[in-house]
Symmetry: D3
Subunit: 338 residues, 6 copies
């Protein structure tokens, strides 16, 4: 059944060098607009839900282009504030084989989203309009203003009985000043507000400072995640382990921890077209499973398949329908459909 | 020695989304003109034969573009009738890895080819102009007018002593009304007229309703194909088995049944650039071998190699020369040629 | 003040040869989705109104792409029915200088819109949701089913007190069977339902069979339009005269007839980037002026400037904001804005 | 009535920088294959004639691409010899406004055409297969081998009663060694063999060394062309005067001299998309008029309109049909055709 | 004779929507690197001088691409400092006819150039390495750090006997805080240091607050420029008047004031391909004339022709050689060069 | 520490069909400028050295574009002579999977480099300006003039105490007249002059006519290379063995022989984006290791990793920095860098 879902986060302009050239070789760029919230809403919209982004964008051609792009993805744009001057951007040079891709950010500190004055958004009103709201650790890394807004929104959602989804998504490069120590306080506040959390054992160890007896990842996961769930009263915790193979194929295995027990997806191995945004696709699969009441094993399988498919789609934002994900679960590696 | 070869069939406009975007992401399309007959003639022209397409195309820019495109492939356009209003089209979204490609057809029922009035073509005259004529099960699926024309042409060819080649090419989506039951009658008529037939055991079981004792494909093939050849007095029957691997590579193994015995190609495993039209390349290899008098083992190896190469060429229409196929047989996986 | 505006009409896929090549020279196409209703809503959305399209589109990649494209234009897609199989298409080869552009249609008779079964749309419900609804003579030319739906919708709007806008937009090629005689009946029915009509003296003479004493266009306009307005009780009638100059520049002069008197825009002369859809931009300007209560002189000037700007924008759909049109009225021919 | 027309000349690969960048700015090129003979045949094929090119092209990908390209234009490729190693090429940077376009040649001396051994072509056989054969002054400039072949072919055509068409097309840069003095001998030989000649008064003065009393171009034309026609027993002489205006538009006026009297086209003024090959379009119009028996005034008007249209078409080779040219004569500057 | 010329200024990344689409319509961008100093050096390098840019660029892919691009233009990159984090950017949507182009800046305040710490550059050393150094009013608008650096460099150049060139280039949008009042102080300091100044009467009136008796531009110019030259002891003052015509063509007339008298170029009227950077081309023409010792009339004609040609070249940076400018002076509007 | 490195060799224009189409299918080309010397300098420049090309290029747009392109790669263009008429070119059709790529050369015999008159270059002066100079067997194959120049330059370098690097790079197609016999003499002269030589056991056997007892490649290498090193007094000999796998991946293993002992890199297996120029990347790695004084094991590992990375970069010229190569040595197959 179609649900109302909102996401709070920044819209980034992605400027991608086409093909496999470097910025110093090429002369054209493909552009699109994405962001963790955008990606999650793009996926959930394709699973039949109504998705609305809560963000701030500048007036003028760039803001207009961003909104047109969100609308094209099927995202509701009615809660977007206009104001401020700039939009965050990043440049993407595709990798090939042994050569990894590179992401170069422009200054996002001055973006409309990151400079939104207090009281830009009416969170009290917004909170009542969504069954679930998605928040992300990238937003948490920005600045105090954004952090305050994020927590206010999450509190308002909690108050109205909506689901708070929080994807830890810790990026060391965004916490250069302060690091894990500064991050921990803010993460803990969000975890206390959250119902569904995306994370794995490394977040528990590095951000939350927890220790594990086990020396390997699954053991650490099985030790720490139940403890996290208990400590922060989380309904659901989920995440992935990724391996990159020598032939540049990737493997993904998803887990979900719910009602005291773990479920795992198969180890899925696949070729990568577009790496960015695949984590958001996995998160969307978890949210969809939870909202639809799938059993945990089905949810984690669905989310992992959705994550794999997102690696095969151009752009950050997932484009696969629920039916596409189901087909992939039944019949991976099919022939052309005609 | 160069032979005159004709093909009877529809020209389709292929509208392909470049790269790996979906129709709802992209804004440009690559277009070309193909069709089963076009593809077979493209291949045979590259092996040194003279190929002529017998079809009907509208006046105006689209018909002109189609003819220019056929001529560019080296196909003789002198027997093409102009008239009617439309050209059949299909949209192609490329797959990537775990995500299969998608083909979306426009309405081909109203195409110039499918609405050709009776007596559009002078089959009596045309029949004398070719050593062999290629027909295809896709054409058989269209409507009664086209089926009647197809059989008249095959009869006329038979009368003049030309070779009738028939590729079963059963597409379930084209026989939605009537299904196998309706199809069987028409297939049987064509099989009675044919000398060389492209099919495999599944066509025998599903279209012709034959039963096999064996539970696996090669066994079924060895049971059923000799029976088909006998029942319809076929000179040669040939076809392929395709496997799609978990790493999205494909394998192909060709067979030929002639003079009472089977020959098989190696299992060839390969990466796919463009899936559409590869079956026509295999058929062309069989036709070429038969026309040139290759021994069956050479014919099936040539056809399989031609089929593999067609997967590595952009567009539906095979572009490899006889020399390219020979080189592939000798030295698969060579370095850049300079 | 922002109004709710709906339009009823077909969405067409436009397939444009980039640059100045012909279809028989090129190998790529740019595609977009447009239609008279789409264009009008695109313009009105940019003037601050809420625009919704009432139409029918197929399931699958082409329908999805059409909806994504409408949403990108800012058009509400919530009243679009999904069903049927196909989408109408046209190919556009750009003209250059002395060589005119060419439009080639595919078969739109079988499109989802044109094959919508009776009772596809709930016009009674839809009628209450818009302050004004746009209809177009192109839709009227399609078939009886579409004509019936169109008139039912217009009647329902009339009943609920909404404004009915009708753009005559007679295309001879769409009325090949029946011609003016058949068209007249249907046009008269729509004129009786309409409040605002887009037409000029040639529509009055050819479609409605009226005679004029004057031998030149403005004279005929001044004779016939008041008579038309009286006969069909129209609130507003508006339209344009276009001249194409030897240097391939175009001139446009708009007129509006309201409350018994004519107002005219300046003769505007301009270079053309994209001819298609400019008439819809003019119509949108008239609708905007009427909805906003501009005085007629201001309305006709605004509409003419909007029409000119639409010739300078890529694609069928107008992209200029109200502010862009005002700037053009104040300061035509400005330098780069930075 | 459809005639058989041949042309003898080199196929050049045109490598054009897209848009308005220079070679030192861009990184992509559009390529096509043209040449004076190719262009003339492209035009005449579109007027309903059968055109065959007599030339020599290398084996391998470049020769294959050239032949595919000629075939796409509708030109018969059956008389093309394969051999030699290279293909002549030129780079084209488009001009814009006050900045003229630039053509940079690669070394065409070593091309397959220019290094064809004696007896490459069977002119005796070829001569019987065409109603008219087109030759060009550019070919005459190449080297002795090519010149000898050209004259042998022209003589053979003359013998068989075919029409010899000769376009003077003097390019100073191709006669750097020898200049007018060397050229004169060869031009005179060709003029003695020709029936229809394309030239103007400047060719008479500079190549043939004739003097005129008049100081302006039309006067010189009226003095010298009758003398040339008489001296070389020419049936028809035709050519153009071109003016380039300050606003970068061009004007063209065609003349034809036949049966002792001159006819002139209107002065046609137009915007230029692609300058190269327009002279060949004019020549084709003259040839078509002569073959069809148009009266001279109609021929020169047709040729001038064909020349103008060729400036509006991308690429060197004319693409307009006879109907396109007629439409332009009736209705220059028309609106989009739909 | 080849001179050493330096320029001090920011490198901007230009992100241009190809063709005539808006940012909200397109999905690709062309990028290049420019800036006032870059453009001036690009032009002067083409006139045979050695040009070096003094600027600061970040480490990483964007800085590398900027340097590669400068080097491609022929500019010496040896004096470029690496450091800081960002590069300034602007988006360009091309105008067409009545629709003007639009420039949208990203936040350049945080660029490497604008955040260079004190003592980033060794101006004392640099000053001795150039015969002339170019400074620009855009740089003056940035912030105190940049202004200080700029003046230090100019002083050092003055000390070593080099020429200081200052282009006023006042952009109101860059002086929003402070306006003319704040600007005046800084402009006056630079004018006191300058030898050659680019400006016109409006700069004198608005920035310097001078009054003119005359009511039209040439009169004001003749009144004010001699006074400016005297007040600041300038060797040469030069500039342009631009008119934009109704048909979207532009006219330009250059002036130079030197040794007490004015020289003017012709009024040149032309079509515009790329508006940005044309002022820098004019400035370069003035600098070249001064360095080469042209007489003022020749200098102003050369500069105006160079300015016109820069409007016909893709990108901000002039690409014409000295020979191209001379050819334009002799023979404007020539045919294709082959 | 940054060294001065020169290379002597031809600049070739590479004209590459984009994607996977053939020349007879496509209509656009990507162009760039490369050559063995260009590629080596491109790599070494990225490792922090100063690279200068010694070559000859024509005046005009193609020569200008070549120089702009070299400069963009970071190569010093100050020692490039301008003169002659043409530039060598090659067309590249990319292979895919089982279909190998194809290279088609135009006539390079007449290029500016290959027709340089005696005394074009001042080798005596140039020799003092570089710590090492790179020569290549391709240059040796051209003609006597070029061979003489090459040896003179190498002698001059030797005299001044610079390092002579010689890459054997034997291409059978370039020695069609004369073959190994003719080649041997010239190779021996260069080997006598060289310090560092790139070759493997096949060069020893085929060019130098040496015999090996062993029947497999490593055995032959271990027998012959020490003998070659001794015979020609070489400081360092290095090279690679390449294997092409059935799945179209390649493997590379580098060797270096120095001070009497061999070092080998790992067998590296990788996917290939662009095959051309990878050998030059390996050579550059060896040169860099030698110039920097790496121990041989480090040098050969670095060179092999550099060679692998060059297969993953678009274009002939290596683009990886020293840091990129080190990262690949530490952490092959990493995730996107952000």
């Amino acid at each position: 059944m179609s649900k109302q879902i909102a996401a709070f986060g920044e819209v980034m302009m992605r400027l991608q060098v086409p093909g496999y050239e470097l910025l110093s070789q090429a002369s054209t760029l493909n552009y699109s607009f994405s962001g963790s919230g955008v990606n999650v809403l793009s996926a959930l919209t394709r699973y039949g839900h109504q998705g609305s982004l809560v963000t701030r964008l500048p007036e003028g051609p760039l803001g207009d282009a961003a909104i047109a792009s969100l609308r094209k993805l099927g995202i509701h744009s009615g809660y977007i504030e206009r104001g401020g001057q700039y939009i965050g951007m990043y440049f993407l040079e595709n990798g090939f084989g042994a050569r990894p891709g590179r992401v170069t950010y422009t200054d996002r500190a001055g973006s409309s989203f990151n400079t939104a004055p207090q009281h830009t958004y009416s969170f009290a009103g917004l909170a009542g309009k969504a069954d679930a709201v998605h928040f992300c650790g990238i937003t948490l890394a920005m600045n105090d203003g954004v952090r305050t807004a994020m927590k206010s929104y999450a509190e308002a959602v909690k108050l109205k009985g909506g689901l708070v989804v929080f994807d830890c998504n810790y990026r060391p490069s965004l916490w250069r000043e302060g690091g894990y120590e500064l991050a921990r306080l803010h993460y803990e506040e969000m975890l206390h507000l959250a119902d569904i959390v995306l994370m794995n054992e490394q977040d528990a160890m590095f951000i939350l400072g927890m220790d594990a007896v086990s020396g390997e990842r699954e053991g650490q996961l099985r030790e720490l995640i139940p403890e996290v769930a208990a400590r922060y009263s989380l309904c659901t915790v989920a995440g992935t382990h990724r391996t990159i193979h020598e032939d540049n194929r990737h493997s993904l295995r998803g887990y979900i921890f719910k009602a005291g027990s773990f479920s795992f997806s198969d180890h899925l191995t696949f070729t990568v077209l577009d790496r960015v945004g695949a984590g958001d696709a996995y998160a969307s699969g978890i949210i969809h499973g939870e909202l639809e009441g799938f059993d945990p094993q089905h949810t984690v399988s669905f989310a992992a398949a959705a994550g794999v498919l997102a690696h095969t789609v151009a752009g950050d934002s997932p484009m696969s329908s629920e039916q596409d994900v189901f087909r992939m679960l039944m019949n991976p590696g099919g022939d052309v459909q005609r």
